[in-house]
Symmetry: C2
């Protein structure tokens, strides 16, 4: 009851994510918990507010393909089951909470820049993860 | 490196704190870490902005005495060394971070109300703990 059974770690696929996932892995080992990871791609139409009058689908597709490949490599480094590697489009703060609900995660692990407190590595909007989280949240300090 | 060696749990001494400390205890056991706890009393002069033209020292002293006794009972329930039980006056968000630095804690565990996201059990101002934290922060969901 006081441990965790399914841990969801949010990654931005940079070098800093390694420290965050290491923490998550250590927790999984300690509690014999299942590990899932998620990377959220913010759609260009969201990022730019839909102001650009062009078809972004080709660029978006390329981003998705490249990112899926990076996530797969990243997941393999930490022996994360491919079925537990999630690549999602949307707003990080909403998508991470929704996914945590869907997979029944009882802990979300996210990175937090020391200099900026909880300005999460996923982008500042991801602060919202903490406000809507259906479960416990561990903010792992990364960087200086 | 990926575990924790000294965990500081912030408590408000209500029943809800029990779940938060249970999480902290489980982590301490998993990592063979040292456990410290802290309760922060916000001085009346701060809480009321110093607008009350009366000497609050007697009331404050009484609050301190009663709280120290509660903290001692609470700490004993979880086998927390009396030297590791901290009662502090001040603003929670500042004091918890300062204490974490002083004792070399590498993880702060705080309660978080599900309904209010990170409206910490210590009071809403304690959200600041997360922004100035010198280390990782685990927000444990309490209540409904």
């Amino acid at each position: 009851m006081s441990g965790y059974s399914h841990i969801l770690v949010a990654v931005d696929l940079t070098e800093e994510s390694t420290g965050v996932v290491n923490r998550a892995c250590a927790l999984c080992k300690a509690y014999s918990a299942e590990l899932s990871c998620v990377h959220v791609i913010e759609p260009l139409s969201l990022a730019y507010g839909g102001d650009i009058p062009m078809d972004l689908s080709a660029i978006q597709e390329q981003i998705q393909e490249t990112t899926r490949s990076h996530l797969s490599e990243f997941g393999a480094m930490f022996n994360i089951d491919p079925d537990n590697q999630h690549l999602i489009f949307g707003r990080p703060e909403t998508e991470i909470d929704t996914l945590a609900n869907q997979i029944g995660a009882d802990l979300i692990v996210v990175g937090s820049h020391g200099r900026h407190g909880l300005a999460l590595i996923l982008g500042s909007t991801a602060n919202g993860v903490l406000h809507g989280a259906p479960c416990d949240v561990l903010a792992v300090r990364v960087g200086i």
